[in-house]
């Protein structure tokens, strides 16, 4: 990836992070930790990888993203707003009555949201259904789904993985956000679902491990995924929960808590300083 593009993506991701902080601060609740950990990946997906058109959000041939870890909706909303699916001002209405930005993604009311999610384990299955539909309709769109590392403790995730491999859904890309933390503590201590790489391989996936905060690595992973035929691909993204806000990084307490006014100012200043915006 050339330097200019990388800088541009970094700037966009910084804006997405600012939006996430704005959203959660305005809502006084929400999930900043896991939103910040996927900010770079979602930025890359929507700006470089996926074929989507904000003017035609329901196009049958569009690529799709199912945010299986639906509680990190602030990251998805931020990217969708930046892309122009809906006005940015709406972000500050997150979780408020009357807003179409629900606490968890709602496909019926939010332009650009491809699947209603929030209950863990369900989204990845729906993504399998979309990938199967593409095959049945002879369309070449791809379906991406973001699964949390903690979410992978849900049995249904493994039912879906079995299904994807069984039906050779090579148009499906499963992403695991390996940030290592869930509500009750470190993922490996709460209920260890590792090793993801070996398990996913055994389930019939082509497995890629990548740094979820390095755009070169992210690009390489997605480019490779597209070349894999006859089986689905899983990308295990190593990420940092709370990435970009020093006091939130690797802190389990920031899974589902909003910053107060003082913390908000510090977070915004930090992100801006780092991105020089």
């Amino acid at each position: 990836m050339d330097k200019a593009k990388k800088q541009q993506l970094a700037k966009l991701a910084a804006q997405v992070r600012l939006d996430i902080i704005d959203e959660v601060h305005a809502a006084k609740s929400g999930h900043p930790g896991g939103s910040l950990s996927i900010a770079d990946i979602l930025t890359y997906l929507y700006y470089e990888e996926m074929h989507v058109d904000p003017a035609d959000p329901k196009s049958p041939s569009r690529d799709r993203l199912v945010l299986s870890k639906g509680h990190t909706a602030p990251a998805l909303y931020a990217v969708l707003a930046e892309k122009g699916f809906f006005p940015r001002e709406e972000l500050l209405q997150l979780r408020k009555i009357g807003s179409f930005l629900q606490g968890h993604p709602d496909m019926k009311h939010t332009p650009g949201v491809d699947m209603t999610t929030g209950s863990l384990g369900l989204g990845i299955s729906a993504a399998c259904g979309m990938a199967l539909a593409a095959k049945l309709d002879g369309l070449d769109y791809r379906t991406y789904t973001m699964v949390g590392d903690g979410e992978s403790e849900e049995g249904q995730v493994w039912e879906a993985l079995m299904f994807a491999a069984h039906y050779k859904l090579d148009n499906l890309c499963v992403m695991i956000d390996w940030n290592g933390l869930q509500i009750d503590g470190p993922v490996t201590e709460v209920m260890n679902p590792t090793p993801h790489d070996k398990k996913l391989e055994a389930f019939g996936f082509h497995v890629i491990v990548a740094n979820g905060h390095d755009f070169d690595d992210i690009e390489k992973a997605f480019e490779k995924a597209k070349t894999v035929k006859g089986k689905p691909t899983a990308i295990i993204f190593k990420t940092v929960k709370g990435k970009g806000v020093s006091f939130m990084e690797n802190q389990v307490g920031w899974h589902g808590a909003a910053p107060n006014d003082e913390q908000y100012e510090i977070a915004v200043a930090e992100i801006k300083a780092k991105a020089k915006i």
Binding site: T116, G121, S125, G129, Q156, E159
Partner: protein, 313 residues
Amino acid sequence: MADKIATREAYGQALAELGEKYNFVVLDADLAAATKTGVFKKKYPNRHFDCGIAEGNMMSVAAGLAAAGKIPFASTFAMFAAGRAFEQIRNSIGYPHLNVKIGATHAGITVGEDGATHQCNEDIALMRTIPGMTIINPADAVEARAAVEAAILTDGPVYLRFGRYAVPVINDKETYKFELGKGVQMRDGSDLTIIATGIMVDMANTAAEQLAEQGISARVVNIHTIKPLDREIVLKAAKETGAIVVAEEHSVIGGLGAAVAETVCEGCPVPVVRVGVEDTYGRSGTVPALLEAYGLTPANIVEKAKQALALKK
């Protein structure tokens, strides 16, 4: 003697027959032989997807298919559809109001010998609580076939309830017209109304005949669409006959009996007495023995009718 056909048989045949007219797909969870979606699979192998013994995944896969414009039928036993996969149906299908048809077979006590773990007497209650869910419980093979087509033509989630046990065909295939959400008056009467659904409709007719012999005039109404409920026909029955018995092969809690009682209490309070599986589990046995043991008989409908009449002021 009328032909006897299980509604699950009619379901499988309807899918196979309608497969040419409508572009739907069928999912099953290792029960294609029992749910009868295997009949469709034989004809359209490329449109039938076995999901294995993973019902939760199947329901959410169906949601994804529907979100991408397909019309999926997702089939398994009622216990594993409404029971096991309740939350997937609620969150993946119901909440986004996706166009998924749930073909739930082996509903109720007439599962027979397999016993309580497989006898789902709670599915109507569970499905009724999901906003926007349509629930159809056909009385016979003719109605079952019509219900499948009506489900295809209805946008949004539909729960279709079918039985394992062969029951008499009571509707005329040539003249039958299915109207979603409309109750069917099977026979008129003035002393009370028996409101029945599914396999209990035939028994309600028999009970009405027995009541007639005793000088009691019973109206019989078949409710195939439990949700949305035909409030008009229910309130009309309350107003005109002043007493109601509801008969269903389902728990007396939360099913059609509850739906009718709720409607009548709010709209035209008259006695409502329920015939159904009392607050208990099923068990193994032959179907006739189970129907007898759990009071799903014309004789019990007659007895409850007399109770309702006694309560009538």
